[in-house]
Amino acid sequence: MRGILTVFRKEFLENLRDRRTIFSALLFGPLFGPLFFVLMINIMQQQAETRDEQQVEVAVSGGAYAPNLLALFAERGITVKPVTLDEAGARRAIAAGDQRTVVVVPQEFPSRLAAGQPADISLYFDRSSEMGSSATNRVRDAVDDYGRHIAQSRLLLRGVDPTLLRPVVVKGIDVSTPKARAVLALGTLTFFVILAMLTGGLYLAIDSTAGERERGSLEALLTTPLPRSYLIYGKILATTAYMLLSLTVTLVALSIALQFTRLEDWGMSVDLSPRSVLAMVLLTAPLSLAGAGLMTIVASFTRSFREAQTYLSIVLMVPTLPLALVGLLDLKPTVAAMATPSLSQHFLMTRVLRGEWPQGWEILLSAGVSLALGLLLAWIAGRLYEREQILG
């Protein structure tokens, strides 16, 4: 037992002096996620705001043929810019970026309308432009409503109830609470947190296995009376410790970084108070042992630092990448999900972010399965080091 602690202390302190470890465990991983997040949210917010406040402008050719349409545009806050363009001219104006949306009313429009025939209005836009599409939608809505008004007045003239034309009325009602909406927006947050945590142990896992072999210090270690499995237990513990450090720094950085976003303006609030940061650290911590065990095992099979780095960056994706998707899909936390390491931590963290508290069985199941997996992986790593092939 003292031997394990000796190895743990040495690995922990030595890596504290290694700039590479510090960079990946305490700087890059933990700060990259939160920074990325704040940037992303701020950009999203800015876009949404400009979209809403923006004066939508539409170029209209032949507006004189449809004065009521121009009036409707004005009513909806859509600025009309009179132009004279044919079809080719409208295409060119959009392609050149001079206009986002061009409405062309043909000369025969009033006569067809008067005759009760279908009258064309052409709407030119570029679907691939994100900023353009919301402006275009508002213009298109206005044109549609214009057509509907005409239809309604024609029906009324003939003594028909216009509501006959709308047998089904779709009412979209958004029931998500502001907090829940925020969680959806922050859906990929847990991905960053768990990725940063695992990255924190990356260099240690490599250094203490492939690095030890490449450096030529492994053979000397194996001639000490310490059981080989104890050696690896000490190393896994040190890797776990760095992951926990990384996890804590990440969450603290995140709770600070989110103060620089204006989620409240959006009616959103995310609970990242010190209390919930602490809860998230504790709820996620049980996963670190499994992460450290897995990385140590994989790194043990590699011949060099470089090779280990390649494999481990892939291994890192296994428990993390699904989270990026799950966060967006908004799956429900079932018993099976709570018994799946990484996935269960995602759900627990999401709960806390929402300002809810996970249930007791969820916490126990998540921590129990994760710890059991961690112990199993550590035991396998220990067995691997008992084999003489480990010398490579």
């Binding site: 031997g3 000796t6 190895v7 040495k10 030595e14 890596n15 002096r17 290694d18 030890e212 450096r215 030529g216 210090s217 492994l218 053979e219 000397a220 270690l221 194996l222 001639t223 000490t224 009376p225 310490l226 059981p227 003489e388 010398l391």
Partner: protein, 243 residues
């Protein structure tokens, strides 16, 4: 005392060592001499418990290595092929870490490290990180690490590899001192002049098996050659490269 009794070891289809037997006695320096790939490192690794022999026994002070690996490891100090130090630990910390792994309390391990720093004239490395050590400093630090638990037996795998003349000379002085203190020293080399200069006993190994053993003089006499180089070539039975 280190004894090899009929040690054999194969890796897959390749038989690296075949029935190797010899004894390295206390108070003597025994050299394991042979060309590259003769099985020297494999033999030493079996003696210091890193590898399990397929057949035969390795004994350290009468303890069978396979049965009592932990006891054997306490009795033996090993300087492996590559002296691998931890680059971010100082010389003193590198030494003391192994002291702790051998069961010394931290304070005791540090005290012992200071002792070895003095004994091996390592003062300039003691407080510096191992990252920038010269080849000679690395070797001495690794040697101190091997000696940290004051073992009665010392095994060195090609310790002179890459050392300059001055470092080889100081290593020789050191080994002589340890030998005179009654330790059993076993080291491997493919350089015969070195073995001739350093060793009291020589075990010549070629193609995984012992082809001759005795003092340098005896070996010369047995082969009927005057020079040790000629004797060596004759003993290993070919003009095989000596590396």
């Amino acid at each position: 005392m280190i004894e090899a009794r009929g040690l054999s070891k194969s890796f897959g289809k390749v038989q690296a060592v075949r029935e190797v037997s010899f004894t390295a006695r206390d108070g003597r320096i025994t050299g394991l001499l042979g060309p590259n790939g003769a099985g020297k490192s494999t033999t030493l690794r079996m003696l210091c418990t890193v590898l399990q022999p397929d057949a035969g026994q390795a004994l350290i002070d009468g303890h069978v290595v396979a049965d009592e690996p932990i006891a054997a490891r306490r009795l033996i100090g090993v300087l492996s092929h590559s002296s691998g130090l931890y680059p971010h630990l100082t010389g003193r910390e590198n030494i003391a870490y192994f002291g702790e792994l051998h069961g010394l309390a931290r304070r005791e391990a540090l005290r012992r490290a200071d002792e070895l720093v003095e004994m091996l004239d390592l003062a300039e490395c003691a407080q510096r990180k191992a990252k920038g050590f010269s080849q000679g400093q690395r070797l001495k630090t690794a040697l101190a690490r091997a000696l940290v638990h004051a073992p009665r037996n010392l095994v060195l795998d090609e310790p002179t590899n890459g050392l300059d003349v001055m470092s080889v000379r100081s290593l020789r002085v050191l080994l002589d001192r340890l030998r005179d203190a009654g330790q059993c020293i076993l080291f491997s080399s493919h350089v015969m002049q070195e073995v001739a200069m350093l060793c009291d006993d020589v075990v010549v190994i070629a193609h995984g098996t012992v082809v001759a053993s005795g003092s340098p003089d005896e070996l010369r006499a047995r082969s009927g050659e005057d020079g040790l180089e000629d004797a060596f070539v004759k003993l290993i039975g070919s003009g095989e490269g000596l590396g």
